[in-house]
């Protein structure tokens, strides 16, 4: 139950975010300032923004729930599934994008292949980002309703107003700088929960001993590498081929909201350094989002739904005052995801669609205004469509799964386009669309093709291979 001090902390956090975002308004005089912060951001701010945007509020509960069921293997998404990809992106791909002066990944595809590849990629990202925003709003609202008892609509409206205010006011600069504060709050709030929980179970050694003593079901809970014939969704083959080689690279190299931040770096060195610092920070993320799941194995054994792990920890260990800080951390995780997606979607619409097909060659002020209006329209659209999520249970997972269909094909097309001069414009287009269709087919027939549970890592690997072959031969 929230006390007065908790409400005070949450309200102070919200007002602080709006104030900080508004401060950056004075620096926004052109569309460059709004979309890529006038190429002025330092590496440390970008690094912290990259890390915090990658974690949503739902991840705090959902990833801990996965760790409760499967153990520390889930940490592969932040370790093996991020660090090598970030280093490769830092030294090979990001400097290339930064020098080319592009705003968006589809813009690169347009330059390298043709306008159709750009159009398909842009429209796909815009649709999924907008719809995904609504789903994220609802899923987070439901989570906060369970944890705090706030009505779902209240969380959505408050988050929408605060994020909309600072994103429209200060553009990417405000998004990144509020992310910096949000990351600090997230580390303090989430870290406090882990500290209290670890203290209760007798520290690291106590945790390992107690989980190990709970029976065969938990014997692999501290194994990062599971056999290839494991019945969990995380065999080492899937982790290495699907996650490390494809999904991680696709995310750090081909995801608009990630790349856009690096394009806003003040120099090529800052762009590279942001990803490398991010790689080091990434190593600490599992402590925040996975350890709570492992602690709950000891404190609350036998939960039917792993997603109950975090609510149980909160109920058992978090005192008033710290509770407010923890919920501020949840809001920070939610807001950092929403603000990044909003700014990226506005950039995609304004630069790849509006500037190219609807109104060419008008003043820069006009594109700046379009970017701001688009941000508001997408936000309102996402908030209004979010209740649809309630009508279709499982839609959050479905959207995440659908998004993963694009990772492999987009990475294949970017990789070949950059490293192989003989890739043709039609090869890129058919590789992209063919790879997406292959992903869909593999997913639709997954039960007759694959033997492991939820084979999304294998789907991502084979769709990447398929897209690579199509692009090569056409």
């Amino acid at each position: 139950m929230l006390m007065g001090i908790d409400y005070f902390i949450i309200i102070a956090y919200m007002i602080g975010m709006m104030g900080l975002g508004y401060y950056f308004k004075k620096f926004i005089t052109s569309s460059d300032d709004y979309f890529i912060a006038g190429k002025s951001l330092p590496f440390w701010a970008i690094a912290m923004s990259l890390i915090v945007s990658d974690i949503g509020a739902v991840d705090f509960v959902g990833t801990a729930g996965q760790a409760y069921r499967y153990g520390i293997v889930v940490a592969n998404f932040d370790w093996l599934g991020s660090v090598p990809g970030m280093i490769i992106a830092a030294f090979i791909f990001i400097p290339f994008y930064w020098r080319s002066g592009i705003y968006t990944i589809p813009e690169y595809l347009g330059r390298r292949y043709n306008q159709w590849a750009q159009l398909i990629a842009s429209i796909t990202w815009i649709l999924f980002y907008t719809f995904g925003l609504g789903v994220t709003f609802w899923a987070s609202g439901v989570m906060l309703n369970t944890l705090m008892g706030w009505p779902v609509w209240l969380s959505i409206v408050i988050t929408g107003i605060v994020v909309g205010f600072y994103t429209v006011s200060g553009g990417l600069s405000a998004v990144v700088m509020t992310d910096v504060v949000q990351m600090i709050i997230m580390f303090i709030g989430g870290g406090a929960m882990v500290f209290l929980g670890m203290n209760h179970v007798g520290g690291w050694e106590g945790l390992v001993d107690k989980v190990g003593a709970m029976g065969d079901q938990f014997s692999n809970h501290f194994e990062l590498v599971l056999p290839s014939d494991t019945d969990t969704p995380y065999p080492w083959t899937g982790i290495l081929f699907g996650l490390t080689f494809v999904m991680a690279n696709a995310y750090w190299i081909g995801n608009q909201s990630i790349v856009q931040r690096c394009l806003a770096a003040k120099s090529e060195w800052h762009a590279k350094a942001s990803l490398l610092l991010g790689a080091v920070l990434k190593m600490f993320i599992p402590v925040l989002i996975i350890f709570p799941g492992l602690i709950a194995v000891v404190t609350n054994p036998g939960l039917e739904n792993g997603d109950q792990a975090v609510p149980m920890l909160i109920r058992n260990f978090i005192p008033p005052g710290l509770l407010g800080l923890l919920f501020a951390a949840f809001f920070a995780a939610l807001m950092s995801t929403i603000d990044s997606t909003l700014n990226s979607t506005a950039t995609l619409w304004t630069n790849d669609i509006y500037r190219k097909y609807i109104k060419k060659d008008v003043s820069d002020k006009h594109y700046l205004k379009t970017g701001k209006v688009t941000t508001i329209v997408i936000l309102v659209l996402a908030m209004m469509t979010s209740p649809i999520t309630d009508t279709f249970p499982g839609i959050y997972v479905a959207i995440q799964t659908l998004l993963s269909f694009f990772q492999g094909p987009i990475f294949a097309v970017i990789l070949l386009g950059m490293l192989w001069k003989r890739t043709t414009q039609w090869g890129g287009l058919f590789g992209l669309t063919g790879g997406i269709i292959l992903s869909l087919l593999l997913y639709l027939f997954k039960e007759s093709i694959f033997t492991i549970k939820d084979p999304f890592l294998y789907v991502s690997w084979w769709s990447f291979v398929g897209a690579l072959i199509i692009t090569y031969f056409i």
Binding site: M86, A90, L226, A273, Y458, W462
Partner: protein, 69 residues
């Protein structure tokens, strides 16, 4: 083939070795990057601008983590 059946005979220790080998290969590749490329965009280079150090630090941390678990 789609299920990576060929890998069923590979132990998790060998798999861990492959993963740590990947970190090693990336580390060696980073060490071979030219100095000019590493310092691109820096007007007055200092030792802490050397991005090879940053990358190797991240790789050492992750390699130790995989050795431990």
């Amino acid at each position: 083939m789609l299920n990576f059946d060929w890998a069923n005979g590979i132990s998790t220790d060998t798999a861990k070795g492959i993963i740590i080998g990947l970190f090693f290969v990336i580390g060696v590749a980073v060490l071979f990057l030219p100095k000019k490329y590493i310092y691109a965009g820096v007007e007055e280079p200092h030792w802490y601008h050397n991005l090879k150090l940053w990358a190797i630090t991240a790789l050492v941390i992750i390699a130790c983590t995989y050795l431990y678990f």
